[in-house]
Amino acid sequence: MLLKSQKKSQYTNLHSLRNLNDKELEIFSSHFHIRTYAENEPIYKINTPALVVYILIEGDVVLSNENDKNISIAKGHFFGNLALNDQNKRPYSATSVAKSIVAGIFHKDFYNLFDKYRSIKDKIIEELIIIK
């Protein structure tokens, strides 16, 4: 189990959140649901509703589709961003290929954050443009 100080430093090192200051990071990470996935455990499956955006904190996650196209997610990057568009189905499955720790943010929490904190939105919106 990560200590609070270790958690905070891990979030600071996350690539997609590099532009956030300490206060913004604290606000943003307060909406995280930290999940631990075992080796080869699915995080989500293809054609399931997209409800949660994830960010990889530790470990190794691969996106794959029916055409065997595989995309490896780098540590600190978002995936599952299609959850930000309502009613979308996932075009890829996400699987943890090694023991992984991810942070999930419910799509409505994302909207609320963007509504309330314009500065956070401006700083991370570009990281979300890459649709995965």
């Binding site: 649901h33 455990e41 995080i43």
Partner: protein
């Protein structure tokens, strides 16, 4: 064995709750009041948080504001209402009640039915009215004992409320942490929908009940102003009408009957020519319900729970059988929660392939 140990964290609290139900019950009652206040206040806290960017300050400002308004209300209205309730209670004492109900019974029930039903008809009516008034005082007394007069209860409610407003997200997250990964996303969706629907329902019901109370009071005052009728305890009648409006479908009828019972069984001027007044009182409550159904409820979406009216009536009656008027009020929010869980789990099974 591992499964048993994993589930102990659910089982132990539930077992403790069952074993310690009696001492825990008053605390749960206070907490449920805090929960309702949290649902009512949370939108204001969210707005303040957008301005202040600080949840703690927003919560303190909102709670302090509510505390000030309640304090002001208690100081100005409570002694007056308390005095009127005591007066009504005195006038509904057994001996007087029996004579008054007999007088109303013989006045308004057609002679044919009076002679056919005889004493049985009167006894049934009297028993019903007596039980209603006893239940009302019993419920008010129990609630009052737990909530009304002790600083300890008030402080508990405020403390619970502050923590719920500050840390409801943390409590939610702690609960979700214990959900298996497979059901993580669907659980988030269920909790979000429950919070949305229950929040909308409670806020809407609060506004609708307040509107019914106010329009009832105004309607009865106007009736009094334009006719000879003398209606005592209009404030109490209005508050009862508002409170009972919380019970779907049956509540407005019960509220109106309470008003009629209070009017005809407390000291009134000459009851002799009040047949038309009975219908005027019913008309006033009819207009109040019309305003509520056509203007207020559609605006506040208080009735949009998506359950058929017949089912709502049955649920309210079952809730009433289990826990009296409080059960009737709580039966609908509990049914909404259950409905959302079933709907979302079905949706989840379909879309996430849980089969």
């Amino acid at each position: 064995m591992a499964t048993v140990i994993k589930n102990l964290k659910w089982l132990i609290p539930i077992l403790m709750l069952i074993i310690l139900w009696n001492p825990i019950k008053p605390i749960l009652f206070l907490m449920s009041i805090s929960l309702i206040l949290m649902i009512l206040l949370n939108p204001l806290v969210e707005i303040l948080e957008t301005m202040t960017k600080n949840r703690f300050i927003s919560v303190i400002v909102a709670v302090a504001g509510m505390f000030f308004i309640i304090g002001l209300g208690i100081k100005s209205i409570y002694p007056f209402i308390y005095e009127q309730v005591m007066e009504i209670k005195t006038q509904l004492e057994f001996g007087d009640l029996s004579a008054k109900v007999k007088s109303v019974y013989e006045k308004f029930v057609p002679d044919f039915f009076v002679s056919t039903l005889g004493d049985d008809g009167f006894n049934s009516l009297f028993t019903f009215i007596n039980n209603v008034s006893k239940n009302l005082y019993s419920m008010a007394g129990e609630a009052g004992a737990i909530v009304g007069n002790t600083i300890y209860s008030f402080l508990c409610i405020m403390i619970f409320l502050v923590f719920l407003l500050l840390d409801s997200e943390k409590f939610k997250r702690s609960f979700i942490n214990n959900i298996p990964n497979r059901y993580f996303e669907i659980t988030l969706k269920i909790i979000d929908r429950i919070y949305l629907q229950i929040g909308r329902y409670i806020r809407g019901q609060f506004i609708a009940a307040s509107s019914v109370a106010i329009t009832s009071i105004i309607g009865l005052y106007l009736l009094q102003y334009f006719t000879d009728i003398s209606i005592n305890y209009i404030i109490i009648i209005g508050i009862c009408a508002g409170l009972f409006n919380l019970i779907p479908f049956l509540g407005p009828i019960i509220g109106m009957m309470i008003a009629i019972i209070i009017y005809f069984t407390t000291e009134q001027t000459d009851i002799g020519h009040n047949t038309i007044y009975l219908f005027l009182i019913i008309l006033v409550f009819g207009i109040v319900q019309l305003i509520d159904n056509i203007v207020v409820s559609p605006l506040v979406l208080s009735d949009s729970v998506g359950i058929h009216p017949l089912i709502i009536i049955i649920l309210a009656m079952v809730g009433g059988t289990i826990a009296g008027p409080l059960g009737m009020i709580l039966s609908i929010p509990l049914a909404v929660i259950l409905k959302v869980i079933i709907e979302e789990l079905s949706w989840g099974f379909e879309n996430y392939g849980y089969y």
